[in-house]
């Protein structure tokens, strides 16, 4: 057992206070008191550490922002001038002392630039993992488990009904449908940040080298990913394309546009959606999805459980998602667990309904 693993009994040792004495849930979000900063605050604050660029985690208007260079690039791209005051980049693996806390960012494997925040204070180590997944994603660095005293986890897919099948099998379903209906356009709903670029890299890895057509809202981040060295191949704007060109074409669009008037320009489209929620048939039906693709940027149930094993923390806090089930599971494995009931994160099983990005 590492030093970080020696549990400390309910903060009874004054020189090593329990982390719940120095990490608090305030209206602004998760607050690290001895460092004077919030992690992914839901309202503008003086000092923010941001795990990744999705809009429910990275919000505009903070006075001071610390994040990975990738996340900062995404935030600048999405928010322009509203991004906030000073932006400070911290590379993966480097340690920065803020107040009385050592802060380190470690890859989370969620989207480009996504990080877990490793906090060390008064002899305890806490890892705030943000959103994460464990499977291969060519667009970002893979998740690194960090042993800790308290592991703070999401639970977007925190129910054992959520088991994401292998990605390439899902991409295979899409390619099969395109072969079956060569005259129809295939339009896939994807989130602009992360899912879009990951799906493109999966398609390229499966050997699909024809042009991929993009809804206008997806273009800026694809350009940014390319600039940051992620190979995406031949991408073209669907918005100005002739209807004839889109016959039999593969078109990517934000989820909201897929079921909208926007998609009517396409030739008898097959409506697909790439999301972890597509595992549940009734959810796919609600969205009018004909071809559900279970491709997610979040850990599925097995990955969540495996991660609890890998980090070996004697205590787990669950931020958002289906926290009851994960808390129940952790408790049954002898891990102290509780739900933080953080609000403001979009995924509370409302993905797609609200057009949120957590999927």
């Amino acid at each position: 057992m590492s030093a970080a693993h020696q549990s400390n009994q309910g903060g009874s040792n004054p020189s090593r206070p329990h982390p719940d004495r120095w990490i608090k849930v305030l209206p602004g979000g998760l607050y690290v008191e001895p460092g004077g900063f919030y992690i992914d605050p839901v309202r503008p604050v003086e000092r923010a550490v941001v795990t990744h660029g999705h809009s429910d985690h990275a919000r505009p208007g903070n006075r001071h922002v610390l994040a990975t260079p990738g996340t900062l690039a995404i935030m600048r791209q999405r928010m322009g001038a509203g991004v906030g005051g000073s932006l400070q980049a911290l590379d993966y693996g480097e340690t920065l002392r803020i107040g009385d806390v050592d802060v380190r960012l470690v890859p989370a494997g969620h989207v480009l630039g996504s990080a877990q925040v490793v906090l060390e204070h008064a002899g305890s180590r806490v890892v705030v993992s943000g959103d994460y997944k464990r499977r291969l994603d060519r667009t970002c660095a893979p998740f690194e488990p960090v042993p800790c005293d308290v592991f703070v986890t999401e639970a977007t897919f925190g129910l054992p009904v959520f088991r994401h099948p292998p990605d390439l099998g899902e991409v295979g379903k899409l390619l099969h449908s395109m072969a079956l209906f060569p005259e129809r356009s295939h339009v896939v709903g994807v989130y602009a940040l992360g899912k879009c670029q990951r799906l493109i890299t999966l398609l390229r890895a499966a050997g699909y080298d024809r042009p991929i057509w993009l809804h206008g809202a997806l273009e800026p981040l694809c350009r940014l990913y390319s600039d940051l060295g992620v190979e995406l191949g031949d991408l073209r704007p669907a918005t100005v394309a002739a209807k004839e060109d889109l016959k039999g074409a593969l078109v990517l669009a934000p989820p909201a546009a897929v079921a909208d008037r926007w998609a009517r320009r396409l030739a008898d489209p097959v409506v697909a959606m790439a999301s972890g929620w597509m595992r549940v048939r009734q959810r796919a039906r609600q969205r009018g999805v004909e071809l559900p693709l279970v491709i997610s940027d979040h850990a599925d149930w097995d990955e969540l459980c495996r991660t609890l094993e890998d980090v070996g923390a004697p205590e787990v806090w669950v931020t958002h998602g289906r926290e009851e089930a994960l808390v129940h599971y952790a408790t049954s494995r002898g891990i102290r667990a509780r739900a933080l009931a953080l609000i403001g994160f979009e995924d509370e099983d409302s993905e797609g309904i609200s057009g949120g990005e957590a999927s």
Binding site: V161, R283, R285, I353
Partner: protein, 529 residues
């Protein structure tokens, strides 16, 4: 099982009705007998297996999965078959054993003795993939909920049948349907042109009923009052009484056999005829509130006390067969005369004739309709005097003209997750009105809003939750729902002492403060004794 599972999955994900019909036609054309017949039986709800009930499936799943996680998952997914299909642990050895065919599954289940069914199901779940597990569980529980009604399946059957028999309509399929049993070999043979049309007419089968359209104002002004007869629309459930060749059946509008729940009617069907009427609870000919009838619905058996407290009654609208004579081709006026003659001659107990309402001008009917608030009347029916009794819902011959709804401004109190298509949306709302400073619940509604409004309501519920009880959320007293309902009656089942009939969301009053919603006294004043 694979072909059936693929069909079920394709149907689930097919958003358009025509697309579903295409998938079904393709299945009837390519699947062999008896497999396509079993599939049809599953889609029309004609299959059920005594022991494979949801509770047993849940219990079985709990032997493989932590029951708490199973319960949370079910709460989230909102569909037991889907939950168990997704949560059932995959076995690596599955690849080595062959999944069963649909025929094998059905035949094994039919041959199974008491206590064997769940063992068979368990073995199959271990050899099937998640789609196969879903299809199997849907099949054995008999409630598919995949957006395909029995009517749609029959529509597809007729469409496929027209390839060989261009004259076939969906009503022909309905008509022969009730004389047949799964896997329907004679039906397929007929539709493929290989055999004669299966016999009907004899037997106590259901005949498709004639249904009406709501009367819109613009329709009415164009109608000639002299061409229509009017009668009261009674507030019970539409039934068909079939007494043929010694057999007696009471069917609901959709063809469900409800004879078992109403022996007090069936006992008096000592005649040979097919009749259309309204099932009511009535004491000495006086119709009781719908709530009293509700106590007797959805029951397999009835107690002596229920028969005493809520005596059933049928108010007759129409006659379809008198003995062997099919009267459906006659005009309404002629059938009405036959019905009156028949009633005079037979004098059946527990039944009376629904009287015609004479009128010359529409404004007379308008006044009558609004004046009729007593128990048992929902509005008026208008029937073209020269119309034959046609299956289905033809536009023109019959109209229902419901009296105007009552409305009340209520406050949302609880929201519950829906099922099926609306699972994981908070779509069922309990609402209340003010009594002093507190809200008392007065009803529950889950319809009357659009899909877009459902999304808004769902979001509002999530953002204003104060407590959670499993699938139910208590919400802040902050959203006014204007509820429409047909009538209100005293009830000892509700804390408020009142029960609404057919409550539905009329408007969502995003603009109205909750404290301006109505009070219980207002609702109480709407009760008609």
């Amino acid at each position: 099982m694979n072909r059936f599972a693929a069909l079920i999955d394709a149907l689930v994900f097919m958003p358009s009705r025509n697309g579903k019909i295409r998938l079904l036609v393709e299945h009837f054309a390519t699947a062999p007998d008896p497999e396509r017949g079993w599939a049809l039986a599953a889609l029309t709800g004609a299959l059920s297996f005594r022991e494979a009930k949801p509770a047993a499936i849940r219990e079985l799943a709990a032997t493989r999965v932590d029951p708490e996680l199973l319960a949370l998952s079910y709460d989230y997914v909102g569909d037991l078959a889907e939950t168990v299909a997704l949560i059932w642990p995959e076995r690596p050895e599955r690849a080595n054993s062959l999944p069963p065919s649909l025929d094998e599954v059905v035949e094994a289940l039919r041959a199974a003795r008491r206590g064997q069914v769940m063992g068979l199901v368990e073995g199959w779940l271990d050899t099937l993939d998640s789609s196969g597990r879903f299809a199997l569980l849907k099949l054995i529980t008999g409630a598919l909920r995949i957006g395909v009604s029995a009517r749609l399946a029959k529509t597809a059957l007729a469409e496929w049948g027209r390839l060989a028999r261009p004259e076939v309509s969906v009503d022909d399929v309905e008509e022969v349907w009730h004389g047949l049993t799964a896997p329907y070999a004679e039906l397929f043979a007929w539709l493929e042109g290989r055999a004669e049309r299966p016999a009907t007419g004899a037997g106590a089968g259901f005949r498709p009923m004639m249904l009406s359209h709501p009367l819109e104002e613009e329709d009415r002004v164009a109608l000639d009052p002299a061409a229509y007869a009017a009668e009261w629309k009674w507030d019970g459930i539409r039934v068909q009484m079939v007494a043929r060749g010694g057999e007696r059946r009471l069917y609901s509008r959709t063809g469900d056999d409800v004879s078992g729940a109403f022996p007090d009617i069936v006992d008096h069907m000592n005649f040979d005829a097919v009749l259309d009427g309204e099932l009511l609870v009535a004491r000495d000919g006086v119709v009781a509130p719908f709530n009293d009838l509700q106590q007797r619905l959805n029951r397999k058996t009835v107690t002596a006390q229920m028969l005493r407290d809520g005596p059933a009654w049928v108010r007759l609208y129409d006659i379809l067969f008198d003995g062997d004579e099919d009267l459906r081709g006659l005009s309404f006026v002629e059938r009405r005369a036959r019905l009156e003659r028949w009633y005079e001659a037979v004098q059946p107990r527990r039944m009376d004739l629904s009287p015609l309402v004479p009128f010359d001008r529409w404004d007379e009917l308008v006044a009558l309709r609004e004046g009729a608030r007593e128990n048992g009347i929902e509005g008026l029916m208008l029937k073209r005097r020269d119309s034959a009794y046609l299956a289905g819902r033809p536009k023109g011959p019959w109209f229902k003209w419901k009296r105007g709804a009552l409305t009340l401004d209520t406050v949302m109190m609880y929201a519950q997750r829906g099922h099926g298509k609306r699972s994981s949306y908070y779509s069922d709302y309990t609402f209340g009105v003010w009594r002093g400073e507190e809200l008392v619940p007065v009803g529950k509604a889950y319809s009357g809003f659009t899909d877009a409004e459902l999304v808004e309501l769902d979001r509002w519920v999530r953002n204003h939750t104060t407590r959670r009880y499993g699938p139910v959320r208590e919400v802040e007293a902050g959203l006014v729902l204007e509820v429409a309902f047909d009538s209100v009656h005293p009830s000892n089942r509700h804390k408020s002492g009142l029960a609404m009939r057919f409550p539905r969301i009329h408007r969502i009053r995003w603009d109205k403060p909750a404290h301006e919603a109505d009070r219980l006294e207002t609702l109480a004043a709407m009760v008609v004794e």
